[in-house]
Symmetry: C2
Subunit: 336 residues, 2 copies
DNA sequence: TTGTAAGCGTTATCAG
DNA sequence: CTGATAACGCTTACAA
């Protein structure tokens, strides 16, 4: 595929306009010191020929692309899409282009993405990947690429980070629950490969229960609405003794549990209480509304991108942003 | 920001290995005709120095990036994210990198994105933008960039297109509704800037009603769950005479209507029927389950990307893919 | 104000 | 099998 085959080059423009390439270059870069007449002439032939400068050549010559690499997990989750949306928004505003590096669930692959990021000559990177460890991310920073890391502890000269602080919020929620008379057994729904954020939540769940001297249950579930729904339907049909307070990592999973409860004839929240850790608007669209922790991922994306542009201009002051989840009290838990 | 400042170049590798750059180039490109010993030596120094070739320079020299431009609306909708997810998946598999061009709601802006796509030297492009007209898209094709256009009629040498054929499905739905005794007035929820796909649906809604000699109502609504919910709550509180069959463009809007109905004391589907045009999994998560048209956007994304890679290898046979929506019958409409 | 020419980091075509 | 050397399309001192 010769997609550049008949690309007009700066040289052709120069010839057609009867000037040197340097002049054309000056015109397209809006440099001063070009006679108005010449400028006009050049501009005319540029549009006449339909010339578009080659970003590639420019980048090579100037040592800067206007390109930001974004490393995200490929998983098709709403909250990732939201984050991307926030990044996108600011990128557009600041005139950056985004190059996407999506990683599947293996760390190997994630590492090869890091390689790719480096060869791609991005000006900066936003890394939001649950599989990557700090050492991996460091690699990219070591190439002197300003980087904003999301939900991953890292620091360095040209590194900023955005952190979701679920820990305190979850701890508080659990303590409150028991203090205010919550008496159902609490169960954390565990699934594989749901990322670091969720596994931190899980750890906190376990730890808090240990600290309280209570039993925190754990149950495996698949990351699919339908599977989870069916599993819980079976469970709940055996009777209300299987009820409890279920901590789910996503709205759709929480909805699976509460729908299963309802369809099995159990009452929410009397028999079954449900909480979602990563809440979206569906938390209040579903009925009963799902008690859930919310993080504005669009905003997180925006902030990541703002941090990065500051970093690119060497003017990032606060290198760490901490984002607190907000607790939305729905009808899937008992008001106490 | 000198992000390339201390980049190791092929030249440094050559010197360190005591060979010429040509040889290093051969090694990194896995060319034959390099003595095993030399190859080994070069590979060793490459890893020793941590050398990563510059994609930029490679692209400039070879006239090919391995980069696909993706033009999508910035709107943060699940179905767009799904599409992107499908594209991403195949891109990873085929070893392409994705560059994102997100367009906001103005056509001006969309056009400037097209410009950007061209300067960015992508090998191919997938264009999914509701604001762009055929003429606009043609521009990109005229630069000899193989392109797959989603939901936009275009053709040309290096152009493929993916089309969603809602028309027939909607027409059939409406006709069936009345034939089987549907007796509520049908209302189409109209919102601004929801894109070409939805406005085609709207046209079909109007046309089918004209053909049937029936009145198809139209109502403006905002593209927000909360607003729509509140508006319909007010409406429904006035009484069941305001019920009807409401055609909504998205699950969240459909959910707003059915939640409002329920909360206002109307019955779904007896008093209020609801249909969603762009269904997602939330159509069956919400209760009552929302009768909805479904298109597997992840798959659409995959297909777009497959088409494009075929196009890039000059081996695309079928240049048009038509995707039929599937109708999911939920509980938000009366079974007849 | 304008032109000349030396890079930017590769690949590719020649010779050797 | 290996090494010069000319592109690739553009920017940017330095000269004129």
């Amino acid at each position: 595929m010769q997609n550049l085959k008949d690309r007009i080059t700066i040289y052709q423009v120069a010839r057609a306009a009867g000037v040197s390439l340097a002049t054309v270059s000056r015109v397209i870069n809006n440099r001063e010191s070009v006679a108005p007449a010449t400028r006009k002439k050049v501009e005319a032939t540029i549009t006449a020929l339909g010339y578009k400068p080659s970003g590639l050549a420019q980048a090579l010559a100037t040592n800067r692309t206007t390109n930001i690499g974004v490393v995200i997990p490929s998983a098709n989750y709403v909250y990732i899409a939201n984050m991307l949306s926030g990044i996108t928004e600011v990128a557009r505003e600041k005139n950056y282009t985004l190059t996407l590096f999506s990683t599947s669930h293996s760390r190997e692959e994630a590492l090869s993405m890091i390689d790719k990021v480096i060869t791609t000559h991005v000006d900066g990177a936003i890394i939001f990947d649950d599989q990557l460890g700090p050492e991996d991310v460091k690699q990219i920073a070591s190439y002197n690429i300003p980087t904003v890391v999301v939900d991953n502890k890292i620091s360095g000269e040209h590194v900023g980070d955005i952190h979701f602080s679920y820990d305190a919020a979850i701890r508080k929620f659990i303590i409150d629950y028991y203090e205010k008379g919550g008496n159902k057994p609490m169960t954390f729904l565990h699934a594989h490969n749901t990322g670091r954020l969720l596994s931190r939540c899980e750890k906190q769940f376990v730890k808090t229960h240990q600290d309280l001297g209570r039993e925190g249950k754990m149950i495996n579930c698949s990351d699919s609405y339908t599977h989870t729904y069916n599993d819980f339907l079976d469970l709940f049909r055996e009777g209300p003794q299987n009820g409890g307070c279920f901590i789910c990592y996503r709205d759709s999973i929480a909805a699976a549990v509460e729908n299963a409860a309802g369809d099995a004839g159990l009452r929410v929240p009397e028999d079954v209480e449900v909480v979602s850790l990563v809440g979206t608007k569906y938390a209040y669209i579903c009925r009963p509304k799902i008690t859930s922790f919310h993080i504005d991922m669009v905003d997180a994306g925006r902030r990541a991108m703002y941090m990065l542009t500051d970093l690119l201009h060497d003017e990032l002051i606060e290198k760490t942003a901490r984002i607190e989840p907000r607790l939305f009290i729905g009808d899937s838990t008992i008001k106490r």
